[in-house]
């Protein structure tokens, strides 16, 4: 049999409960909600707080039951207030009083780094042509980085590849070409791969130089591979990258690991080959975009491939340089600042 005190308490609680729905319905905004919250739950003068004070007056036998009643009410009020808060924030579609012209929620997602985007774009063109993708270590030996690639020790050709050394034998690879050697040592032709990756040079960073940058190299080794294939494949690749109408130019150059060697220029997209004062192409109308050539017979000998049976071609291109040219990015260092205002733009590409 509940004591009369307890019964009175129950009635008081029910009365509060009954008013709760109306009180909630009257709330129109966050200020109203806050006011209501205070009315019930304020630590000093909230109704519920005061009712907890009343609890102290109960006989020991009634205390648990009264406490349970009050806790239930408190939970109920908290839930109602939470629901109310939620409804104030996310108005039901088309519900009354909602400004439908308020902006939709701004959702965010992460973006790939621009260098990865360009790298993947290049990779996918070659993958469609049936090239595999390979990689290799960034710390290399002198043998793989230079000697196997036909750079004799003490040869001035090494000066063009300013090298960061760890010790007499170990260095940071200056190009991804050592991977060519590693692959040719392991696999017999036919070989058709590209090698994307980080490479290193001893450069003081400035708008056009970085001590680390990305390169994509390619290598084809098979019977009857000719310079004409090199031209055809690279021309196709560059057109896929820059557009069908792109003009390309192959001109002689020198790399120790290819013979004959060719530098590939593409028409200057900044001035359309028309501005003698163009800052992008220096008025020449052309922009150097990649280096290439037929694999040097000495390189083949170094990996025990018979240059009389097989021939091959290789190319290398700097990812940053290419991206800078394609999008008019003035400073290579932007790629490594990782300013999200910069990097996030490129997923729209």
């Amino acid at each position: 049999m509940p004591s009369p005190d307890l019964e009175k308490f129950r009635i008081a609680i029910d009365a509060h409960r009954a008013k709760l729905a109306d009180a909630c319905a009257a709330v129109r905004d966050a200020a109203g909600l806050e006011e209501l919250r205070n009315r019930y739950l304020s630590r000093k003068r909230g109704f519920v707080t005061l009712l907890f004070e009343d609890l102290k007056k109960f006989e020991a036998a009634d205390k648990p039951a009264a406490g349970q009643l009050l806790n239930l009410l408190k939970t109920e009020i908290q839930e109602k207030l939470a629901a109310l808060e939620e409804s104030l924030r996310t108005p039901a579609a088309g519900g009354p009083g909602v400004d439908l012209t308020l902006p939709g929620e701004r959702l965010t997602w992460g973006a790939a780094h621009p260098l990865r985007i360009f790298q993947r774009e290049i990779e996918s063109i070659f993958q469609e042509m049936g090239f595999g993708i390979e990689d290799g270590p960034e710390i290399e030996t002198d043998y793989y980085n230079f000697e196997a690639l036909n750079f004799p020790p003490n040869h001035p050709a090494r000066d063009d590849w300013d090298t960061l050394y760890i010790n007499d034998n170990l260095l940071l690879r200056t190009h991804t070409s050592p991977v060519q050697i590693r692959i040719m040592e392991k696999h017999k032709p036919p070989i058709r791969i590209i090698i994307p990756g980080k490479v290193y040079r001893r450069e003081t960073p400035d708008p056009t130089h970085a001590a680390m940058f990305f390169q994509v190299e390619g290598l084809v080794v098979d019977r009857n591979v000719t310079f004409a294939h090199l031209k055809g494949t690279l021309e196709y690749f560059l057109k896929r990258l820059f557009g069908d109408k792109l003009k390309t130019r192959f001109r002689p150059s020198f790399f120790p690991f290819t013979e004959p060697s060719a530098e590939v220029d593409i028409e200057c997209l900044a001035c359309g080959q028309k501005d003698p004062a163009c800052r992008v192409c220096g008025g020449t109308g052309w922009k150097e975009i990649l280096g290439s050539g037929m694999v040097d017979p000495q390189v083949f000998k170094n990996v025990n491939i018979d240059p009389e049976q097989y021939s091959g071609w290789a190319f290398g291109l700097g990812v940053e340089r290419t991206a800078m040219f394609a999008y008019g990015i003035p400073d290579i260092r932007y790629f490594y600042e990782n300013d999200l205002r910069f990097t996030r733009q490129f997923h729209l590409k």
Binding site: T90, R106, L107, T108, W109, G110, A111, H113, R116, Q127, M129, G130, G132, I133, E134, P137, E138, I139, P153, N154, P156, D159, D160, L164, Y165, I166, L170, L172, P190, K198, R202, P205, M212, V225, F227, A228, H229, K231, G232, R249, F250, R251, P252, S253, F254, P256, E259, P260, S261, A262, T284, M294, P297, P307, S311, E337, N338, D339, L340, T343
Partner: protein, 685 residues
């Protein structure tokens, strides 16, 4: 290499407009992007040259290329002199003691030279090369170098004791005050030119001050020699000197041309009143035979993909100075001129043919290609992982592999860093042993540029020494999260970066690769606040660490915390076998969902509860998770309140309430026994 058009015309006729000349030079591999026009109507080109083509480091060599390109022959060169009746060897004694480093040494003496300003024509040449004319003898020496690529050295004969000229290795402790006013300490691996007593020049690199040409010089010893390229390179590196002479010697001087260069210099000096000694001193103990190569017409076509006419091949090679004799059917025996040190194989000859035939005339052919190996699977996994992180709002970053040793120490990875011997900056003197440093630099940069929400990840290598002789490169995944998770909204404020958001992102992303769930254990790490870090384990192996970055470390990097970070040895993980994918039919029978709310001692970790439930192997239990947690003052002291949701299902038949009850009781029993949990009022069961 600076090339004067007027000077070129002394060697070959050039009859085309400048732009056409530049275009055609480009197409034979001689690129010129800069040129200047001098007031007196000359044009000076700045032509790029290659390390293997020392023959193009003079006007004569460039003229030879133009001659082969245009068909205009090289002009005849004459070097008139006024001769003394005295043989050179009677005036000066020349000895080569180390012929391995000096395969050829030639010289003349010119007596009675009147030192003075150079004549107009010579001055202009020197100025065109960007140098200041000094006097006629010094200018003549430079003129021969720039004309022919062959460095010449002129000694004041009266300052050469003996006079004897000895080509030998330096003796230990010898030194020389060089023309640039520095004292060069010489070593036994350096070749010097010495007189009777001491060195007077560092061979092929730089002359000595004392034996140099002065206003008082009357008699000159002209040296025209060839030195070993590697030795020159080592010496000039050791002495930290770069001169026009050593630049050419280290690329390989023309051993056949030394006498003509000496004659050319003598002729110039005779025009300044000098008279030249009779007969060249020419010490050339092992005359080199011209290299002979076989060139096959068919091989040329095979490599280039186009048939170049035989007549064109012959004509081009002859114009370039090769001697060409038809040999067996469809091939030639080709003798290589001494100035072409780069031509050693048939492929080198084929390049010459291609250069002059024109790369633009070689067709562009896309070969039809057979099927080869597919892509390595690591790349696919990395791609999928990245996609997950993009989805969770993490931006990819790429940082340089270099680290600042001082800052890296603070991060305390315990790895022995790989140090660069010749770093480009002291702040980039080691290779990174962790990705965290780079991520913190990115955090600072973005915070300084108004971006508060920085949730980034990087996949890249970290480097260290595994032991004294073995270095390792480890593919690593790093994430860093700081600031609000999302953009400000009018409808609700975004949450702030926190440990469990980062943890969840990592777990979900790795889950997408079908790796088994990660396990954690509390860890302490210099990078992370005390009590805030967990070691990440995969099947018992420690593969990473995550936690709240120490505020002091954020400060070191100039960034503002709180920042949460994780680093995972991704390469180690990718070597593990991921689970295989298998299709599972969606259940056709409904599940029974039951919640349990209970108090549990605060020091019991969820991971412990989870493994206890898993170990209990509860029948019909399909999945479970924690859905609420309360650790506030309303709990009994030392207790946390947890609500967990359990999903029960019998895939074969609709689960009965009693069956679910039985399973639920088993869970309760397990948890009570293991952790003395106490069900909350109305907490279920």
């Amino acid at each position: 290499m600076k090339i004067s058009l007027n000077w070129l015309r002394e060697y070959v006729d050039i009859e085309m407009p400048r732009n056409e000349l530049l275009d055609r030079l480009t197409m034979i591999g001689l690129i010129c992007e800069k040129w200047t026009e001098t007031p007196d109507g000359d044009t000076v080109f700045d032509i790029e040259t290659y390390a293997n083509r020392p023959d193009t480091l003079g006007h004569l060599g460039i003229a030879r290329e133009i001659s082969a390109m245009t068909g205009f022959p090289l002009k005849e060169r004459i070097h008139p002199v006024v001769e003394l009746p005295i043989p050179t060897s009677e005036i000066v004694e020349v000895q080569v003691l180390d012929e391995d480093l000096c395969p050829r040494y030639t010289g003349f003496v010119v007596k009675g030279v009147k030192i003075g300003p150079s004549p107009e024509n010579l001055r202009k040449k020197i100025e065109a090369m960007g140098l200041k004319p000094i006097n006629n003898v010094v200018d003549a020496s430079n003129a021969v170098l720039f004309a022919t690529g062959q460095p010449i050295h002129m000694f004041d004969l009266e300052k050469v004791a003996g006079p004897r000229v000895v080509v030998r290795r330096a003796k230990k402790g010898e030194a020389l005050r060089t023309l640039d006013g520095k004292n060069a300490a010489l070593g036994p691996d350096m070749l010097v030119i010495a007189d009777e007593k001491r060195p007077v020049a560092v061979a092929g690199v730089i002359g000595g001050e004392e034996s140099g040409i002065t206003e008082a010089t009357r008699d000159v010893f002209i040296e025209s020699a060839v030195f070993d390229p590697a030795s020159i390179r080592r010496t000039r590196k050791a002495l930290e000197i770069q001169t026009d002479a050593c630049y050419r010697f280290e690329r390989g001087a023309d051993i056949g041309f030394a006498p003509e260069a000496a004659a050319m210099a003598a002729s110039l000096l005779c025009s300044f009143g000098g008279r030249v000694s009779k007969g060249l001193v020419d010490i050339y103990p092992k005359p080199r035979k011209a290299k002979e190569l076989v060139l096959r017409s068919l091989r040329t076509a095979d490599l280039l993909g186009v048939a170049v006419p035989d007549a064109f091949i012959e004509k081009t090679l002859v114009a370039l100075g090769f001697s060409v004799k038809p040999s067996a059917q469809g091939s030639w025996r080709v003798l290589v001129p001494s100035f072409r040190v780069d031509i050693e194989r048939e492929a080198d000859l084929i390049e010459e043919i291609a250069r002059f035939f024109g790369y633009d005339r070689i067709p562009a052919v896309v070969a039809s290609l057979g099927i080869l190996d597919p892509v390595a699977s690591d790349r696919l996994q990395i791609g999928r992982l990245s996609q997950q992180f993009f989805h969770f709002g993490f931006d990819e970053v790429v940082n340089a592999s270099f680290a600042d040793p001082d800052k890296e120490t603070v991060l305390g990875t315990g790895r022995r860093p790989v140090t660069l011997r010749n770093p480009f900056s002291v702040h980039a003197a080691i290779l990174r042993t962790t990705l965290l440093g780079g991520l913190l630099v990115n955090l600072r940069h973005n915070q300084n540029h108004g971006t508060e929400a920085v949730h980034i990840f990087e996949i890249g290598e970290v480097f260290s020494w595994a032991d004294e002789s073995r270095h390792v490169e480890e593919l690593t995944l790093g994430l860093l999260s700081a600031g609000p998770l999302g953009l400000p909204q009018w409808s609700r404020p975004p949450a702030a970066a926190n440990f469990h958001h980062l943890k969840g992102s990592l777990e979900s992303a790795l889950g997408a690769l079908r790796y088994a769930m990660l396990v954690y254990e509390p860890a302490e790490h210099p990078s992370f606040e005390e009590g805030s870090a967990l070691a990440v384990l995969y099947k018992g192996e420690r593969i990473g660490i995550m936690g709240r970055v120490r505020d002091a470390i954020c400060e070191t990097y100039g960034a503002a915390g709180p920042a949460f970070a994780v680093e995972i040895a991704l390469g180690v993980l990718l070597e593990k076998k991921a689970g295989t994918f298998a299709y599972e039919p969606s259940p056709k029978v409904p599940a029974v969902v039951r919640d349990l709310s209970f108090f549990v001692a605060r020091d019991v970790s969820y991971q412990d509860i989870k493994s206890a439930v898993e170990r209990a192997a509860v029948k019909f239990l399909e999945s479970f998770d924690v859905i609420d947690r309360y650790a506030g003052p309303n709990n009994p002291p030392g207790q946390t309140s947890l609500s967990m949701r359990f999903v029960y299902r019998n895939p074969q038949a609709t689960l009965l309430a009693e069956e679910a009850d039985k399973s639920e009781q088993k869970i309760l029993k397990t948890l009570k026994a293991a952790f003395k949990i106490e069900l909350r009022k109305g907490g279920g069961a």
